[in-house]
Structure formats: structure tokens, C-alpha cells
């Protein structure tokens, strides 16, 4: 992928990520976060090469770039077996879709809620 098209999640260009700027305290950890746009382009590349599921994963990843580390960990834990009620998972999916601009992740969570219900690995309300 040509480097001039790449911006970090914080909007910087790759060229700005240099030692001089780092030593001048101009860079933070947020400046080294991959952007959703870059991940979507990587997804397109993967898909074109025949790696459809990897592409879907990278598109979900693109959605998660806007979500905080803590919330990412919380969602992961909510998806573990016997952690959430059906309604909690559906509410999480709604929030992902409506508030966090993450419809693909929301679909994954919604699907999990349905299957977890059938397989009885939901937390009892």
C-alpha cells in the first residue's frame, strides 16, 4: 500500500511519525493507532486476493478503531460464555450499531445472542 495515502487514526501522515517529533513530545500513543480507513483498504486487498473471511475481520476491526481499549475488553468479556443475558447482548448490538458506527460488529453480536440462546450459554437474568 503506497505510504502517502496512509493516515493514522489521529489523522497524522506516516511521515510525521518520526524520531524528531517523538523526542519533541509531539506524538502520543494515539498517533500510532491504525485508522479504520487503512483497515478497510487492507480488507479490500485481502478480499481481492481471495481471503474473504480475513477481509470481514479487518472490516470489523476498522469499526473497533473508534472504540476505547476498555470498551473493547468489555465487549470481549460480554461475548464469553455465560456472561451476558440475551437482552444484554441485543442491547450491546444496538449500541454498536447506533452509537458506535459498528454495524458489522453489531451483526456478529446479534448472531451470537441467537446462537447462545439456542445453545443455552447465556447468563440467567
Amino acid at each position: 500500500m503506497p505510504s502517502h495515502t496512509i493516515h493514522t487514526a489521529s489523522g497524522r501522515t506516516l511521515d510525521e511519525l518520526n524520531l524528531k517529533a517523538l523526542l519533541a513530545d509531539e506524538l502520543t500513543a494515539e498517533d500510532f493507532r491504525i485508522s479504520g480507513e487503512t483497515l478497510r483498504r487492507q480488507a479490500d486487498t485481502a478480499e481481492a486476493a481471495g481471503y474473504r473471511q480475513l477481509a470481514e475481520n479487518l472490516r470489523r476491526a476498522a469499526e473497533l478503531t473508534g472504540i476505547s481499549n476498555q470498551e473493547v475488553l468489555d465487549i470481549y468479556n460480554a461475548l464469553r460464555p455465560n456472561r451476558s443475558t440475551y437482552n444484554e447482548l441485543i442491547a450491546l448490538a444496538d449500541r454498536l450499531e447506533n452509537d458506535l458506527a459498528a454495524p458489522l460488529t453489531a451483526a456478529l453480536v446479534r448472531e451470537a445472542a441467537e446462537v447462545y440462546q439456542v445453545r443455552r450459554i447465556l447468563r440467567n437474568p
Binding site: 500500500m1 524520531l19 517523538l22 500510532f32 493507532r33 486476493a49 473471511q53 479487518l58 476491526a61
Partner: protein, 740 residues
């Protein structure tokens, strides 16, 4: 009654292993359980309603996930209707490219995948690996851990591992709370050895993710998936939680690889009576369905379990192949201790080593086995030279480059000093000069001073919970004068932003060049195609520090010679008295002055003469010019001997007692293992020759038999014989010699 041979066999390392008969009902069967389903797939309105004999209503978690995510329904009907044997043949047919197989296989159910590989022999599966692995260039991964969790030793070992060519370096912990410091130490160490080495710290998922968020790790292969629902639940995950986790890592630019392997479900007591390979096929479809770019499989830590069963090692190879058929990067096991038997361990390795995989081991112990915190270490630091020699023997790239001791010491010191500087700048418990010095030359953590564990763990907690990230590490290194290491770690952070190494099977080559299934796709299609170890890389891999130039050996033979002790006094005549003729090879005492056993030719000749003299028999010494062959030297001497008995001796020391009436290649006694001959033996050879010459009853000279001699000294033998052969003068008759 006990056979002594069976007693010996029972003591062999191989018999410290457990071998059992299959018990399918509890999953103790490598392949082909009677309870394994037959392949089937029914699709209605774009929805899978039956898979491998199970109706949708009966689907478990894994079936649901595979049916929804893993199968390419567009080709499923064609794939399922193609006979398994035909697909198996495509796997080994050089005229069918990898992409064509990938496309068709993407519609196969777990049982179909198993049915395909069941058609194949181990050799055919290896052919399959050569064609189907994702990345053209094979690579290898290292384990770097130690019992003391010593940061300077971790950094030094990671630096050395990077120098040796490992593309990924993985650490873990004995005490979980050390994780952040261990991750930091191998990050700094690896980027000292070679920029672009990927690193990870295998710990609990939440901690692992946080280490990734901080830029302290660049990949993760801790995402375990399982082949039955109950095992998955016991692992406290579901395919959906794992899929989410995979996306979470990718969202922070961290490469991930799932992990699974035959035997896990049986070990955890939830096999459902299915074979290990069938359950692994399900794991691999979950892996693909979740969108992982790759897998670490090949039974991994369970390896001894399939190995207890018939066909277990074949099954483990089959699971590597299935993963590759699904387009996954494969780090192909060979990491956990697989056998007490060196023969078995090496034979198992060859299944992946020869065809090549994306990572031939998913963890080669770049440390002593004693320090391996992954629970074993199939190969360790003491076996690195064996690995290099195997690469050189077979012209196979096993991912490692021979190194010089001085280079290793240099990068180890720099790695240890770099982590010392980082600890200093971040206010972590200091790493002393004594610790750095110990780390440079250490064999294991036993060579390292103890550290204040409470203080280290406190620092580790601060690193994990506080705001520190790779940025502060880079700054500390740059300010302490480690510009190259700082630049490499910065580049690793920049690569996270670019994300090219999230594509399948990605590693960094020189100068952070991404080698992946996209930039370096495996294009094997038979002889002359695909990855070939050649050119500069082949030169580098054959350049072992132990290898020497044979020309220098011959030059060393020519040094410091006194040739005056053997004088030629004219053509040798045939004797007519009882005597023993000692016939010397063309170079004896001249161009060569000692035997391969290191005996001075003068001493050898004196010993033989002494032995003859002890029997009161006269002796003559002649030099043979027309041959360098021991039998013919002795034969030529015998023609000149008044008694018909002669001793022939080559410069390397090989000796024969010959008699005129025998055929040239026959003899009275032959002493072929010249390195085992000492002066006493030569004296006895002289004595026996004298007794033959005077017709006395003679007991053959006893000689020591050491069958490793040829193995150890065949090159020196060849060179000495070459030097002797170079002195042959075909037309020159034997010459009489006198000793001065």
C-alpha cells in the same frame, strides 16, 4: 527368560514413551473414528440446513459458526460433489496451481476436508505442504524465556535469536505478573538483533491485548479454538468471542494467529468420540470463519497424545495441510517436546522441514530447555548446530542463518545494555553491570544473578497499568545512544499504522520489507518453481563457522619437514635371503611426515624395524613410486623380498603384511583402521612379518576396532591419500632406502 536384546531395547529412549491402542469412544484415535461423520452439505435458500450429517436444529456452537462464516457457499456444491480423491490428486498435481485448490476447498465441510487428506500418504501430504503453504519463503519462530524472568537475559537471548534469523520471537512467563517486563525485554532485544522481528508474550487474553495496545508486542497467537462445544466453553470462549478478539487485535494493528491442534479435545475430556483430526478440521474452519490470517497447529502442546496412537504423526501433518488448504498461515508445531528419541523427534520434524512451512516450528527454543517456560522445548539452543547442518545437508531453508561467536557476543551485550538503559530511564529496578556482563556470556538463567522479584513485579504492574507505551521506550533508547534500536522499534510502530503485515503469513524481511501471501505468494508448481534455496542465501546457510578449507590442511602437511632421514641409494633389487621388505608409499617420510593418527613416520618405521629385529630377521626398506594403494604397495614389496614377505605402508599409516604368492588384493594381515594403530602395534606388525618370513606359527596382531574412525577422519584420510597419490610416478621402479 529374558532376551538380552529385548532388555537393551526396553532401555532405549523410545521406550520411555507411551503407546496405546485406539479407544475411539473417548477420542483416543488419531484419524478415522467410527463416530466421525461422513461428509454432507445441504443448502436451502442460501442457508446451510445440514452439515456432515447433522441437521441445523442439532447444530452446536461450532457447527453454527462454520455454517455461517467458514464455507464459501458459491462453490460448496461443486466442492462437495468432487470426489475426495480427485481433490487429493489436485493437491499433489504440479499442473494445478495453489489458487485453484484454495478456491475449490473453500466449499468443503470438516468431514470433507478430512476425507480428502485421508486419501494421501505422508509423502503426498508433504508435496501438498510445498505447494499449499501461503508464503513462498519459509521461516521460523523462537521461544525466548527463562526461569528467573531476567530482563537482561531475555533481551540478550532475543537479540541472539533475531541475529540467527528467527522471524518471530515469543516469550511467556512463569509468574503471570512479569508479562509486561518480559514483553518489553524481548521487544528491545529482538530489535537490537534485527529490525522487523515480530514479538509476542503469551499470557491471558486481556493482558495480552493490553500489551498489544501499548505497542510492546506486534503479534498474538494465543487465540485458542477448540473442536467441540464443551471444550470451547471450558476454554471460556466461543467462536464469536474469539472472532471479536481477532478483530480487536487487528484494530490496534496487531497480527494474530489462532491456535489449535489434535488431541486437545480428548485431553480435556470432551471428544464426543470423534477422531483428533476431524475435531481439528472443525477448529480450522472456525479459525478461517473468524477471519484469522493463520493458525499455530500441529498438535502443539498435546503432541505426545497423538503420538501415542497409530498414525498420530501422519494426522498431525494432515492438520498442517488442511490449514494450508484453507489459505491459513501455518506455524506448524514442532515446539513442544515430541519424543525422548532423537531419531523420532528428527523424523517427525522432517515432515515440515523438508517441504517448508510458514514457520517450521511454532517455537524453537533459542534458550536451554531448562529455561523454556512453554513447557518443554522440542529443540533447544544446544541443537542449533544440528539444525544448521540439516539445512546444509539437504539445501533446505529452515529459516536460520549460521552466526559467528563474536557477532553473537556483540548483539547480546548491546541487547542487554539497551534494556538496562530502558529500565534506567523508566525508573524500573536497575540492571547492574554485573547482570549485563553475566547476560552476555550466559548459557542459562543459572548463570544470572538473582533480582528483587517484588520490585520487578511492581515495575511490571506500573508498566501495564500506567501510561507508559512503546513511545517512552523509543525515547529512552534514543537518548541513551541506542539510535538503531530506537529506530527499529519506531518502525515497528509505524508498521502497525500501515497494516500490511495483517495480510496472510506476513513477516518482515530485510529493511522491513513485508513478505506475505500477497507480496511473496507461494508459486510452487513443481521442479524449478517456488522457493529455491540458492544464491547468496544458500551461500550464507552453508557457511558454517566449523567448516574449513581443505586446501589449508594440505598446506599444513607441507610445513616443517626434515627429509634427510631417508636416503635413496639406488634401484631396489630382488633379495634371495630370508628377510622382510618394508615398502613405503610414495610420500612416506617426505611430502607427508606423520600418520593420520599423528605418529611420526620415523617412529613408525623404527617400531616396525624393531619388531623384525626382535625376531632376528634382516629387513630392507624400499619406496614404491608407481602406486599409492596399500595392497599394491605391499604386493610390490613382496615381489622384492627374499622371503616373499613384505610390509606395505601408506603415509596415512594403513599397513598390510603381504606375501609374493598371494593375489594383489589378498593379504596375510591388513590394518585398515590406521588412526587406531599405535607404535606397539607397528612393532607387532614387524614381528609377525618376520615370523611369516621364517615360517613360524603366527597369531594375528590384535587391533582396536573403532567404527567411528571413518566417520571422524574420512576427510583427512581423503586429503592424505590425495597428497600421496599426487606423488605417484608410474614409470619409476622401487628404490632402495637407507635410514640416516
Amino acid at each position: 527368560m529374558r532376551s538380552k536384546r529385548f532388555e537393551k531395547l526396553a532401555e532405549r529412549p523410545i521406550n520411555r514413551e507411551t503407546f496405546i491402542q485406539p479407544w475411539p469412544e473417548v477420542g483416543l484415535i488419531a484419524l478415522d473414528s467410527p463416530l466421525d461423520p461422513s461428509p454432507s452439505l445441504k443448502i436451502e435458500d442460501g442457508v446451510v440446513v445440514e452439515m456432515d450429517g447433522v441437521r441445523r436444529e442439532e447444530f452446536d456452537l461450532i457447527d453454527h459458526f462454520i455454517a455461517r462464516h467458514a464455507l464459501n457457499l458459491d462453490v460448496a456444491e461443486r466442492a462437495m460433489n468432487t470426489p475426495s480423491r480427485e481433490i487429493a490428486r489436485m493437491l499433489v498435481d504440479i499442473n494445478v496451481p495453489r489458487a485453484a485448490v484454495l478456491e475449490l476447498v473453500s466449499g468443503c465441510t470438516p468431514a470433507k476436508l478430512v476425507d480428502i487428506v485421508q486419501q494421501m500418504s505422508v509423502l503426498e501430504m508433504m508435496m501438498g505442504l510445498a505447494k499449499m503453504r501461503a508464503r513462498r519463503t519459509p521461516a521460523n519462530q523462537a521461544h525466548v524465556t527463562n526461569r528467573k524472568e531476567h530482563p537482561a537475559l531475555l533481551a540478550a537471548d532475543a537479540a541472539e535469536a533475531a541475529l540467527r534469523g528467527f522471524a518471530e520471537v515469543e516469550t511467556t512467563v512463569g509468574v503471570a505478573r512479569y508479562a509486561p517486563l518480559n514483553a518489553l525485554a524481548i521487544l528491545v532485544g529482538s530489535q537490537t538483533g534485527r529490525g522487523g522481528v515480530l514479538t509476542q508474550c503469551a499470557v491471558e487474553e486481556a493482558v495480552n491485548l493490553r500489551l498489544g495496545f501499548k505497542g510492546l508486542t506486534s503479534y498474538s497467537e494465543t487465540l485458542s479454538v477448540y473442536g467441540t462445544e464443551d471444550t470451547f466453553i471450558d476454554g471460556d470462549d466461543t467462536p464469536w468471542s474469539k472472532a471479536f478478539l481477532g478483530a480487536a487485535y487487528a484494530s490496534r494493528g496487531v497480527k494474530t494467529r489462532y491456535t489449535s491442534g489434535t488431541g486437545a479435545a480428548a485431553l480435556m475430556g470432551h471428544s464426543e468420540g470423534k477422531s483428533m483430526l476431524y475435531l481439528e478440521a472443525r477448529c480450522l474452519l472456525v479459525t478461517r470463519g473468524a477471519g484469522s490470517q493463520g493458525t499455530q497447529n500441529g498438535s502443539i502442546s498435546c503432541i505426545a497424545l497423538p503420538e501415542s496412537l497409530p498414525g498420530g504423526v501422519r494426522g498431525v501433518l494432515a492438520e498442517n495441510l488442511i490449514a494450508m488448504m484453507l489459505g491459513l498461515e501455518v506455524a506448524s508445531g514442532n515446539d513442544a517436546l515430541a519424543s525422548h528419541s532423537e531419531m523420532r523427534k528428527s523424523a517427525k520434524l522432517m515432515l515440515q522441514f523438508i517441504p517448508g512451512t510458514d514457520f517450521i516450528t511454532s517455537g524453537y527454543g533459542a534458550i536451554p530447555r531448562y529455561d523454556n517456560m512453554f513447557g518443554g522445548g522440542n529443540f533447544d539452543v544446544t541443537e542449533l548446530d544440528d539444525w544448521y547442518v540439516l539445512q546444509r545437508d539437504m539445501q533446505v531453508d529452515g529459516g536460520l542463518v549460521p552466526v559467528r561467536e563474536e557477532e553473537v557476543l556483540r548483539v547480546r551485550e548491546r541487547g542487554a545494555r539497551a534494556i538496562q538503559a530502558v529500565f534506567d530511564a523508566l525508573g524500573f529496578p536497575p540492571i547492574t553491570e554485573a547482570e549485563v556482563e553475566a547476560a552476555v556470556t550466559a548459557y542459562s538463567s543459572e548463570d544470572m544473578p538473582d533480582r528483587d522479584k517484588v520490585a520487578d513485579i511492581e515495575a511490571a504492574q506500573r508498566l501495564l497499568d500506567g501510561p507508559l507505551t512503546a513511545i517512552e521506550v523509543i525515547r529512552a533508547l534514543e537518548e541513551a545512544g541506542f539510535h538503531d534500536v530506537a529506530s527499529n522499534i519506531l518502525e515497528m510502530q509505524r508498521q502497525r499504522v500501515i497494516g500490511d503485515y495483517l495480510q496472510p503469513a506476513a513477516i518482515f524481511g530485510d529493511n522491513f520489507q513485508v513478505l506475505s501471501a500477497l507480496t511473496d505468494p507461494n508459486d510452487y508448481q513443481g521442479p524449478g518453481t517456488g522457493y529455491r534455496l540458492e544464491g547468496g542465501r544458500w551461500s550464507a546457510l552453508q557457511n558454517l563457522p566449523q567448516a574449513w578449507d581443505p586446501r589449508t590442511y594440505l598446506e599444513s602437511l607441507g610445513a616443517a619437514r626434515d627429509r634427510t632421514w631417508l636416503k635413496e641409494i639406488g634401484p631396489a633389487k630382488r633379495g634371495d635371503q630370508p628377510e622382510v621388505v618394508i615398502a613405503l608409499g610414495p610420500a612416506f617420510g617426505a611430502q607427508i611426515d606423520r600418520t593420520i593418527g599423528g605418529l611420526d613416520h620415523r617412529d613408525v618405521l623404527s617400531a616396525i624395524l624393531q619388531g623384525i629385529q626382535d625376531e632376528g630377521v634382516p629387513a630392507r626398506v624400499v619406496r614404491i613410486y608407481h602406486t599409492s594403494d596399500c595392497a599394491f604397495i605391499g604386493y610390490a614389496g613382496a615381489q622384492l623380498s627374499g622371503s616373499g614377505v613384505a610390509i606395505g605402508i601408506q603415509s596415512k599409516g594403513t599397513t598390510v603384511i603381504h606375501r609374493r604368492d598371494l593375489a594383489p588384493l589378498d593379504n596375510l594381515e591388513l590394518f585398515s583402521q590406521s588412526p587406531n594403530l599405535d607404535l606397539d602395534t607397528y612393532r607387532q606388525i614387524g614381528r609377525n612379518a618376520a615370523r611369516y618370513a621364517t615360517g613360524q606359527p603366527t597369531t594375528p596382531v590384535p587391533v582396536k576396532i573403532d567404527n567411528t574412525v571413518r566417520l571422524r577422519l574420512i576427510v583427512q584420510t581423503t586429503l592424505l591419500h590425495l597428497r600421496e597419490t599426487q606423488q605417484i610416478r608410474r614409470d619409476r621402479p622401487p628404490t632402495e632406502l637407507c635410514l640416516s
